[in-house]
Amino acid sequence: MKKQYEDLVKKLIDKYPERQKEFITGSSEEVERLYTPEDTIDIDYDKDIGYPGLYPYTRGVQPTMYRGRLWTMRQYAGFGTAEESNRRYKYLLSQGQTGLSIAFDLCTQIGYDSDDPMSAGEVGKVGVAIDSLEDMEILFDGIPLDKVSTSMTINAPAAIILAMYIAVAEKQGVTPDKLKGTIQNDILKEYIARGTYIFPPKPSMRLITNIFEYCSKNVPYWNTISVSGYHIREAGSTAAEEIAFTLADGIAYVQAAIDTGLEVDNFAPRISFFFNAHNDLFEEVAKFRAARRLWARIMKDRFDAKNPKSQMLRFHIQTAGSTLTAQQPDNNISRVTIQALAAVLGGTQSLHTNSRDEALALPTEDSVRIALRTQQILGYESGVTNTADPLAGSYFVEKMTRDIEKQAEEYIQRIDELGGMVEAIEKGYVQKQIQDSAYKYQKQIERNERIIVGLNKFITKGEKPKNLLKVDEKVELLQVEKLHKVKADRDMKKVHESLEKIREISRTEGNLLPVFLEAVKTYATLGEICNVLREEFGEYEEQLVL
């Protein structure tokens, strides 16, 4: 049979050559004309693929997957003031969204108050501005924190924002053991790709393990970290690099927590992940499956985790912002649909779908609604949710799953040899890998070796995007005014005492969460708290790699 097929192909392509000499994936991996059982001969079904809800979780973390419950539809949102963002959250919840995802502005993410000179021009731009507990109270006004789950994209100051969230809940009469949500809290990928770091690695890792410890005792349903490959991919990595570097970050966090004396099965079940869904459908599905299998094996073999929940890779997905084009923005709806399909076929636990206009500005309400509807159409109309892991057993997908896993293992081994992730970052190794991949990808586009519809093929001239959302420049003035009012109304003695307590504990091995909680309740600002820590911990310097 096989010989017959090969002869047939040969005859055919002599006469009608294929469209390209080489066919490659989104990550520039070569794809064969056809895959057959020969490609999966060394894959053992029970050992390598298995069943959903069972080790090694290749087929998903839930036994019934989306037959039980669909993924959480969670649109990342936030801009301007807390009042404006609060309105957008209520709108999204009224449209059937099932969880919140908070975008903070860059000043908040880097621990500067809105009146800091460093904040000029950035207040409220890419997310909501939070200076003090008062802003958080406004942000969640009328949203019952025991009913929603809230994901917060906050990293360097994650512990302080979490303390504010706990304090707001307390005011609503909700105890910490009822809180559900996630803080991103993943500093390593900030050094690698995202850029909102404050402190050097060592004190940053300490803040993270402080959170693990505090939450395991007090906020048991909180996802204490969302180890993120999303931004690594956005920075231009390949699919295999995305999961390799993300899981290597995960390894560093688990090891750091174990080194401080925590028991792996006490904190590992609350570790969650965040990946990117790019355009190449099958490669992306294979990537998610490979990531689950690899993490399960790492947790079992490397860290001796016994609790199945410690071995399960649970993740959120966002579609790939970097694939959106400013040209013909409505085309992005189709891209997002394919990417969201990859996320669902890959077994995600929650999903953000990007809006069509995000290569141009923050999305309008209309665009966000279309993006949310895309998820709902996949969930309720497409039928892809009726059975678990429907692509399993495809020779192509199983082969690619194994190939990506193998490639990722090699990267992780290289990082181990360099002395672990922190060292690999300090040596610039990870950044260099990503940049090389990004450069190669962009050059392929420039040489028309990779077609982007509307950008380097099927171009239309002269269309102007309309109705873009613009953040009012007045937001900065309003926010600064509000901040000054808060500062004027506080008991300064209490503020100072709480800040000095933070300084004191920061010099010990103690857990900083309780003193953060105390400080935010005095309306000490995020910038004030971070400045104390800057004085004590110092600041990180970027490793420049070009």
Partner: protein, 132 residues
């Protein structure tokens, strides 16, 4: 020998989106220019100081956070104050069409929006360098 054209690629403000800036830096370096890259999260003061210290002919800035109207203006103001207006400035990033006339009125020579090829930027450099 002709002096190599020197270009500073800078990231003002707080956003960490450096994929575009780094691509442009590398593509221009491959095209034979002398490239200095500042890294992310630079203040307008730091950027102008580097531009003067490195004696560059061009300054290219990238912002994706929406802070361009404020921060590009600050850079242009400081360049003026430091008597360094001979440096040709260009910008890029997620910048709405509507903001471009204002940015050009500040003295920024060109704004490159998403989808621009490196070839186009090189063409811009060549056209504006020949005047010297």
């Amino acid at each position: 020998m002709e002096k190599k054209i020197r270009i500073l690629i800078a990231k003002p403000g707080l956003d960490g989106h450096d994929r575009g800036a780094k691509f442009v830096a590398r593509a221009l370096r491959d095209a034979g220019y002398e490239i200095i890259y500042t890294g992310i999260r630079q203040t307008p003061e730091q950027i102008v100081a580097s531009a003067i210290q490195e004696d560059v002919d061009f300054l290219g800035m990238s912002i994706l956070s929406g802070a361009h109207n404020v921060l590009f203006k600050k850079v242009m103001d400081i360049l003026k104050k430091e008597d360094a207006e001979d440096i040709t400035v260009f910008g890029g990033g997620v910048i709405p069409e509507d903001d471009i006339p204002y940015l050009k009125s500040l003295g920024i020579k060109e704004i490159f929006t998403p989808g621009t090829s490196s070839e186009k930027i090189i063409e811009f450099i060549e056209n504006n360098a020949s005047k010297e």
